[in-house]
């Protein structure tokens, strides 16, 4: 990991020390601005800010996760720019990427937390199980909950990377056997310290979104504008549907009926095949994946809604958004039968009443 004495240098100094030319630095800033969806006119300001920014220490904790988010992060950009990002920050702890293991790794974690107490950026990956005192996920004998509690104490801000840490994700899906909760849940219930929290959801999040959020924090030293779910508005402000290039087909009423039918091959809207684009907020339709190559809809599959809370429990991925759980045919037949019975009863009562009246006369 990075050397200790680098920490007091500014980012600009570190980059120049690594032989990055000013043009290289400008390229880095332009790319970062594009990442953060900031207008190109802001590049000079960003260059100035990044040049003078101090290097924050970053601790990355992985809990109940599949490591997809860490994989996504390491796919962001070219190795050069990515390693720039990782050298720009001082990644003091990351289990998948670090060379140290065992007690040496744990020592590194505790040293970093102690030295930069109150100043480090905490990245959290994976949900935290709390059932049965959190025994379902432990590292070095400590439960995730305990580690999270300790780490949150000294964090300047927390970034929940991926839907699992942001909203609970797969582990939280029905019936949630481990009692998995999100970072936000833990803060709300007071089980960990409350710190500024950025939720970068997605299963996994788009790589450049993760690095874009980091870049924002580096440049401006603060949390970006967040939506109601704590996600950066710049990436999660719009739905897939609103920026989908297939939108004109939706508007014209041209829908693919099955996978690979004529409509599907012509690139028609995938609403009937279960696309959850209208209710999913993410940057997939604009930023796309794999360096802008494509995203699920463009590859012919409807959006799963993976950046939304509880997306695993919202019904089939292949049922259109406008369908719902209307019950069963048997249930409706039962309700209809009950109604008929009441109706017959009411009519019978009315007829008997008529008989009674006419008999009285």
């Amino acid at each position: 990991m990075a050397k200790d004495d680098d920490k007091e240098q500014t980012l600009g100094e570190v980059l120049r020390q690594q032989g990055v030319s000013r043009r290289g630095f400008l390229k880095f800033c332009a790319t970062t601005a594009s990442l953060m969806a900031l207008p190109p006119s802001m590049v000079p300001a960003i260059a100035k800010a990044l040049d003078k920014a101090p290097r924050p220490s970053v601790i990355y904790l992985s809990f109940q996760e599949c490591t997809g988010c860490a994989e996504s992060l390491t796919r962001s950009h070219s190795p050069t720019l990515e390693s720039l990002m990782f050298n720009a920050i001082s990644l003091d702890y990351q289990e998948t990427l670090q060379a140290a293991a065992g007690t040496a790794a744990e020592a590194a974690l505790h040293d970093a937390m102690k030295k930069f107490h109150g100043k480090y950026l905490l990245l959290v990956d994976g949900s935290i199980p709390v059932k049965d005192d959190g025994v379902y996920s432990t590292i070095a004998g400590k439960t995730n909950l305990q580690i999270m509690k300790e780490a949150a104490e000294g964090a300047a801000a927390v970034v929940a990377v991926g839907t699992c840490s942001a909203f609970g994700g797969i582990p939280k899906a029905n019936p949630n056997p481990t009692g998995a909760v999100s970072v936000g849940d833990l803060m709300k219930s007071g089980q960990i310290a409350t710190k500024p929290l950025i939720n970068v959801s997605g299963c996994p999040p788009i790589p450049v979104v993760i690095t874009g959020v980091l870049a924002h924090y580096l440049t401006f030293g603060e949390v970006p504008a967040l939506d109601v779910h704590g996600r950066p508005k710049v990436f999660f402000g719009e739905t897939i549907h609103d920026r989908c290039y297939r939108r004109p087909f939706y508007d014209q009423g041209k829908f693919a009926k099955t996978f690979d039918d004529e409509g599907a091959r012509s690139g028609w809207c995938l609403y009937e095949l279960g696309c959850k684009g209208p209710t999913t907020y993410n940057a997939c339709a604009t930023t796309k994946w794999n360096g802008g190559v494509s995203f699920p809809v463009e590859s012919g599959h409807g959006c799963l809604g993976c950046s939304e809370p509880d997306f695993w429990d919202k019904g089939s991925f292949y049922a259109p958004l406008s369908t719902g759980h209307w019950g069963t045919a048997e249930g409706i037949a039962a309700a209809a039968a009950a109604g008929a019975a009441i109706g017959i009863g009411a009519a019978a009562m009315s007829r008997r009443h008529q008989d009674t009246i006419s008999k009285e006369e």
Binding site: V228, T239, D242, Y250, D251, Q252, G253, F255, Y271, E272, P278, T279, P309, D310, D313, K314, G315, A319, P320, L321, S322, T323, G324, H325, W326, G327, G331, I332, A335, A336, A337, A338, G339, A340, I342, G343, I344, A346, A347, A348, S350, R351, Q354
Partner: protein
């Protein structure tokens, strides 16, 4: 559970169940009532012909009444037809129905639906204004009249709001739209909205009776 999941889940199940229960209750309850015996001599026995004639004749007001009521008829047709177009030819709605009855059909372009929805709302508002402005209808109107109007216009308004992304986060407006439809479902069987099923029998029966008595329809 968030609002949209609730609207598409338990709320939908209950409202659909209540709708079916209520409609069958009303249908059985009304059609099993006794009918008054008609002891007069029938002038004609072709009662079915009379029933059909009754249905057709009531589609447009009698010449004598036209000046007073034709406006209401026109507005009524506009909003009924507009509502039918929006409900049965907007593709997400078709998919909703197809999910239940297993059969779907082709839809119309969204922009056409949106315009029709706006026209439907305009007609409904005009009808409410007429109802309140006229002292007689204002006197006669009850809760059923006003609330039925409300549960009819609410889904159209919230539907357009959702389509326009106006009024809050899309998933919330969509949830409110679905809930407003569920409100209509629940109110339907116990209100004047049952005219949907009854009007055919009422008009047909009137026609049949007229035929029996030999009056011109």
């Amino acid at each position: 559970m968030d609002l949209l999941t609730f609207a598409r889940g338990p709320a939908l199940q209950w409202s659909v169940a209540i709708f079916f229960l209520g409609v069958l209750w009303r249908l059985f309850g009304v059609f099993l009532l006794r009918r008054k015996k008609d002891y007069s001599k029938p002038r004609s026995t072709h009662l079915w012909r009379g029933a059909i004639k009754g249905l057709i004749v009531h589609l447009w007001p009698y010449k004598e009444f036209r000046p007073k009521v034709v406006q209401s008829y026109i507005l009524g047709y506009i909003f009924h037809i507009g509502l039918a177009i929006v409900v049965f030819f907007f593709v997400p709605h078709i998919l909703f129905i197809k999910n239940i009855i297993g059969v779907g059909w082709g839809g119309l372009p969204n922009s056409f639906i949106y315009i029709t929805g706006a026209v439907t709302i305009a007609a409904l508002v005009a009808m409410l204004v007429k109802r309140i402005a006229n002292p007689v209808t204002r006197l006669l109107s009850n809760f059923d009249d006003y609330f039925s109007w409300f549960v009819t216009i609410a889904p159209v308004v919230t539907g357009l709001m959702a389509a326009a992304h106006w009024g809050g986060r899309y998933e919330h407006v969509l949830a409110v739209h679905i809930l407003s439809f569920e409100l209509l479902l629940v109110w339907f069987p116990f209100s004047k909205l049952m005219h949907t099923f009854f009007f055919v029998v009422s008009r047909g029966t009137t026609g049949a009776l007229f035929e029996r008595r030999g009056t011109s329809a």
